[in-house]
């Protein structure tokens, strides 16, 4: 009971933070608030028993994206331009999409329903035989690093390549700065 | 010596986080700890500042006193917050410090910041610029009790 209430309160706060982020014109404020958003989001995810997703949200949302967004702010300046016209049409599209998504959730199985298809396909085998077959104590790690090992290898390769690309791009810019400046 | 103690602390931390005691995982943890220390050695961060193991003895005597101070001042600040009139008298004061080492000054500055009601704004060589919530808090800091204790803590290594 208290758990459901806590999750509801956290989600309500998330909605409020979202609106505030959309309304604040100072982009520094937006970056700082999005950090708060990530912390609350990750807490909500942890309350919903998704510890690994919460970990990722905290690391990516509150950690690296704050740093990346600040780096971007350095390039573009910190004040958001006033919108040229009132965004009535985009707002309608967003509300429509939101309603559509909300309608779509009715087709999903109930939260943490053990009979839902996703819990009956390969999950039981991972849970029951994972530790014996792979020797890894954590189920999520066993799935990612053993059952889907090649998949994960591909993903990490892509992320690694992207990281190298970003570093290469930023390096170049900085050197140009050094030549032009004092 | 310092490297060994750093590696042991890292390994203990690994065991705490993993919570598994199978030979394979313990070996992996030990190797990771050694690898981290090896990298840290190349980065030259395993120094008295990065891993101040020499302080642990005197820290055990200083921390309880600091803990009591923190509770006392946190209680005072809480009373001020819930007081309907909000009786604050903020003050900026310069506080002399008598520590000789940089680490001692860091400990003193952080101790000031950690006790609610006082925050170190600028930590200089011989004096700190401190913002205090109340005049009384600034005065009790100026008496220098904490300063003397930190200096003793620093000298005890």
């Amino acid at each position: 009971m208290i758990e459901t209430g806590a999750v509801a309160a956290l989600l309500a706060m998330l909605a409020i933070v979202g609106v505030a982020i959309a309304r604040i014109r100072n982009l520094f404020g937006v970056v700082v608030l999005s950090g708060a958003y990530s912390f609350i989001m990750a807490t909500a995810l942890a309350a919903l028993d998704a510890a690994d997703v919460a970990m990722t949200e905290a690391a990516v949302g509150a950690g690296i994206s704050t740093v990346l967004l600040l780096g971007a702010l350095h390039l573009v300046g910190s004040l958001e331009a006033k919108p040229a016209r009132r965004p009535a049409w985009p707002l309608a599209v967003v509300i429509f999409t939101g309603l559509l998504v909300a309608y779509g959730t009715h087709g999903l199985p109930a939260f943490s329903d053990p009979q839902s298809p996703i819990h009956r396909h390969v999950a039981p085998r991972y849970l029951e035989d994972g530790p014996r077959e792979t020797g890894v104590p954590n189920v999520v790690t066993a799935v990612l690093a053993s059952y889907r090992g090649y998949d994960t290898l591909g993903e990490t390769t892509v992320v690694f390549a992207a990281g190298i690309g970003v570093i290469a791009l930023l390096r170049r810019r900085r050197r140009k700065d050094g030549e032009g400046g004092p | 010596m310092r490297k060994v103690s750093a590696a042991v602390s890292l390994f203990v931390f690994w065991v705490l986080l993993s919570g598994y005691f199978t030979p394979f995982l313990l070996t992996a943890g030990a190797l990771s700890a050694i690898a981290v220390v090896a990298v840290a050695r190349r980065l030259e961060v395993v120094d008295p500042e990065g891993h101040p193991v020499d302080f642990s003895g005197s820290a055990l005597r200083y921390w309880p006193w600091l803990g009591v101070e923190i509770v006392k001042s946190a209680w005072d600040v809480s009373k001020i917050i819930v007081h309907p009139k909000l009786p604050i008298s903020p003050a900026l004061v310069r506080v002399k410090n008598t520590q000789v080492s940089a680490l001692g000054r860091v400990v003193y500055a952080n101790s000031i910041t950690l006790t609610p009601g006082t925050v170190t704004i600028v930590a200089g060589r011989d004096e700190f610029l401190v913002h205090a919530l109340t005049r009384a808090g600034a005065e009790s800091l100026a008496e220098g009790d904490m300063d003397r204790r930190v200096t003793r803590f620093e000298g005890a290594q």
Partner: protein, 107 residues
């Protein structure tokens, strides 16, 4: 409930109470520097009591050790972050409201 649980509940509730007090201070205080003091109530007494309560519930387990590390982390990191904030604000020229100034007069 066992006596240990009751004690833990009291500690947790007290910690929560001090967190709320700190947050109220965060709202009531007139300027940035005074708000910092309110926030440090959350980080010291509030966090400390909550962690102590949880440690009491966990008993002698790995969780207690992790909570102890969590406490140490707050103990070491929060003054650093607070000091960094204060110093940055000071260098940016944010002037503290002092006792002699018109009281409660904020921007």
């Amino acid at each position: 409930m066992t006596p240990v649980e009751i004690l833990a509940m009291v500690l947790l509730a007290l910690g929560g109470l001090f967190c709320v007090i700190g947050a109220v201070g965060l709202l009531r205080m007139p300027d940035f520097y005074t708000r910092m003091h309110a926030a440090s109530v959350i980080e010291t007494l509030g966090a400390g009591l909550v962690i102590a309560g949880l440690m009491l519930l966990a008993g002698l387990t790995l969780a207690t050790a992790k909570l102890a590390i969590l406490g140490l982390l707050i103990f070491f990191a929060s003054p650093t972050a607070t000091h960094a904030l204060a110093k940055a604000a000071h260098e940016r020229g944010i002037v503290p409201v002092l006792e002699g100034d018109a009281s409660g007069d904020e921007k």
